[in-house]
């Protein structure tokens, strides 16, 4: 059953996409959308239970271990929330004219194609397939980013596709090098398979793995939004339709991180853990530092969230770079927590943008007065992103910090903390200015149920993970950490 599911999983969004080709009606499309996402989420949960019980499953080039499961769960949950959110968001967008009613079909088809490629990215055991799927996500999401079709959208899409294509061609080069090293040891057959490579990883030539890993981290790091390769990210995240932004920030960059983690385990086994950690640490720190000024002086709310993703990807990299079981655990937890929270933030920002008709934060004022629930959710998301307990991100940042202190990375810790506090100030300043004060430029309109339902789902998870880590999820995370750390 579980093995078959591995194949079925990427097929679900594909079939949904194909089914959507048959209609143009918005209601049916939305229904299909939510239905497809729900099926995906349900199947993921079934798979998760089996894997939690019986360990990793593999079938051909696809394989799902606990490490992938963490990311797959994130994908499934966020995808469901995005679908629920999209229902109301689309109604509004069509009403305002941001989305054309006749082009909805292609939008939905592309979203599901995008999801399908991401599912494959997560499930891929073969590093080549991983690369192909990753390029597939680039192509599908590039079209989605430019979906609105205006000048800025196309500019963002172009930057996105060019920069990430360059990035993942570096990733391909790195893959080739690792393959060459592996093939040298074990012969050509199966040397692309991550599981197979991991078996022989300690015998790989450290020199070539070293170069390969540098290529991979710069390459997939571009896709993940690590600075200084992050420049496409705020452009793309700000121009994409809000649900797509949520998927990009919440899942896509996490898929790239998964690829980096996969290669990191190889590199750690081949060259010793210190090397890979050092590289990740440097890129993580650069990301955290570089994101800061742009968050402080930002005016566009979605760009703000984009830069914020850069910071958080940096924190994940820091967690991996601090290393050890705690750091890796923290990093993986942070992947999940940030994905959920960032999606929530994008949703809340999206509803605010729809209400005020502007992405400029100076135009959004007094949200609490006109949309109390949305404003509360926005504030909660901002507080969580800023790392305030009892929300989820605090816990994972605590773990990352703990790992850093445990390994005595004092300079990194100092820089990290200073930046986190400064970003906290910036974020809260922006959020406070939007939420409080006298409302301007927006009337009090009842809040739509569907965006709220999507947001409340995510907010619940955010709060839950801030207050506790469920035991079965903890078990999955622990085994995922074992996979990475060994």
């Amino acid at each position: 059953m579980a093995d078959t599911l591995l194949w079925v999983l990427p097929l679900v969004p594909t079939v949904t996409a194909l089914a959507m080709l048959m209609t143009r009606r918005r209601r049916i499309l939305s229904l299909l959308d939510v239905g497809g996402s729900a099926v995906l989420a349900a199947l993921t949960l079934v798979l998760a239970r089996e894997i939690a019980a019986d360990g990793p499953r593999s079938l051909g080039v696809l394989r799902l271990d606990e490490l992938g499961l963490v990311f797959l769960l994130l994908l499934a949950v966020l995808n469901l929330a995005v679908s629920v959110y999209t229902v109301g968001w689309l109604r509004q967008a069509v009403a305002v004219g941001n989305m054309k009613a006749r082009s909805l079909r292609s939008y939905f088809v592309l979203v599901h194609a995008f999801v399908a490629t991401m599912v494959v990215t997560i499930l891929a055991d073969n590093l080549g397939i991983l690369w192909i799927a990753m390029e597939g996500t680039t192509i599908t999401s590039a079209v989605l980013i430019g979906y609105h079709g205006h000048r800025h959208g196309l500019e963002a899409a172009w930057k996105y596709i060019i920069v990430t294509t360059i990035g993942i061609s570096f990733g391909l080069f790195g893959t080739v090098l690792i393959y060459a090293a592996a093939a040298d040891v074990m012969g050509g057959a199966g040397a692309m398979s991550w599981t197979a490579i991991m078996q022989v990883a300690p015998q790989l030539d450290p020199g070539i793995v070293r170069i390969g890993f540098v290529f991979v981290i710069v390459g997939y790091g571009t896709k993940a939004g690590l600075a200084p390769m992050h420049l496409w990210l705020p452009d793309a995240h700000s121009q994409a339709p809000t649900p797509v932004s949520a998927l990009l920030s919440g899942v896509l960059i996490k898929c790239a991180l998964l690829a980096i983690i996969r290669f990191q385990t190889i590199a750690a086994a081949a060259c010793g853990p210190a090397f890979a950690q050092q590289v990740l640490l440097v890129f993580g720190l650069i990301s955290v530092v570089v994101a800061t000024p742009f968050i402080l002086a930002q005016r566009d709310i979605k760009r703000l969230l984009g830069y914020h993703s850069v910071e958080h990807v940096g924190i994940v990299a820091l967690g991996l770079g601090f290393g050890g079981a705690i750091g890796t655990y923290g990093a993986l937890l942070h992947v999940v927590n940030h994905g959920v929270t960032k999606a929530l933030a994008f949703f809340a920002a999206g509803t605010a943008i729809a209400r005020y008709g502007s992405r400029d934060m100076r135009a959004i004022r007094g949200l609490a007065a006109v949309a109390p629930i949305g404003a509360t959710l926005l504030m909660l998301a901002a507080l969580s992103l800023a790392g305030v307990p009892p929300f989820s991100i605090f816990v994972s940042e605590l773990m990352v910090l703990r790992a850093g202190i445990g390994h005595s990375h004092w300079v990194a810790i100092a820089i990290f903390l200073v930046m986190v506090v400064v970003i906290f100030a910036g974020l809260l300043h922006h959020a406070g200015a939007m939420v409080f004060g006298e409302p301007r430029g927006a009337g009090r309109r009842p809040e739509d149920w569907s965006p709220l339902a999507g947001m409340v789902l995510l907010a619940t998870i955010m709060l839950l993970f801030g207050l506790t880590i469920p035991a079965n999820f903890d078990a999955v995370l622990r085994r995922a950490v074992e996979i990475v750390v060994g």
Partner: protein
């Protein structure tokens, strides 16, 4: 063919590839750059054929053929078509002077060889100088993208960069899995398609080169 001969041929082809790369960097007209990329792809196809005969690996023949058709013929043709369709200026507009780009390219080449020289026994995993040449090609291709203004030259740079990867991949002694290579090529084609559509769409809607758009920043 014995191993030494193959290595010699691959090294010679590598030198040719580097030469075509320099041509691309130095090209002052888009069409010349396109021709240079086509030539580069041709050399890679030849390298594929040589390696195929040497190792008897049938997959490499297929890859060589596909490379020849897709990268040496179809893509250059498409690019030419776009150049004609768009009716853009044919001159390459550099962001920084071409001489400076050449110096940077030189630094990239030196760095690649330095890097590969630091490797130990692994050199046998990849035939001859394919690794440093591949790194140099990949990076220089990206360098072209970073220093040329128009979208088309950027696509040319991207293809040149992909060629570097291909060259190294072919030279891996054990050979790459066919399905992966095909997938990679398909992806490249798809990406080229999407890019072309975007370039044309921007040209038709806002009458500007897509690579010149720089409103989104900060």
């Amino acid at each position: 063919m014995n191993v030494e001969t193959v290595q010699a041929i691959i090294d010679d082809l590598g030198a040719l590839l580097l030469f075509t790369m320099i041509l691309i960097v130095a090209a002052s007209q888009i069409s010349r750059a396109i021709y240079a990329v086509a030539a580069q792809s041709l050399f890679i196809a030849i390298a594929g054929a040589v390696l195929a005969t040497a190792t008897g690996n049938m997959d490499l023949w297929v890859i060589a053929g596909v490379t020849l058709v897709v990268k040496a013929m179809v893509l250059p043709w498409v690019l030419h078509l776009v150049v004609r369709r768009m009716n853009v200026r044919r001159e390459v507009e550099p962001v920084i002077p071409i001489a400076a780009t050449l110096v940077l390219a030189l630094m990239v080449v030196v760095m690649s060889f330095h890097l590969s020289a630091s490797l130990g026994t692994v050199r046998q995993a990849i035939t001859g100088n394919a690794l440093p040449v591949g790194i140099a090609l990949t990076l220089t291709g990206v360098l072209v993208m970073a220093t040329r203004k128009t979208a088309l030259t950027q696509m040319v740079g991207l293809f040149a960069s992909e060629n570097g990867i291909f060259f190294t991949a072919m030279a891996v002694t054990q050979g790459m899995p066919l399905i992966i290579e095909i997938g990679v090529i398909l992806d490249v084609i798809l990406a080229a398609l999407v890019m072309t559509i975007m370039v044309l769409r921007v040209r038709s809607t806002v009458d500007a080169d897509i690579a010149d758009l720089d409103r989104l920043k900060g």
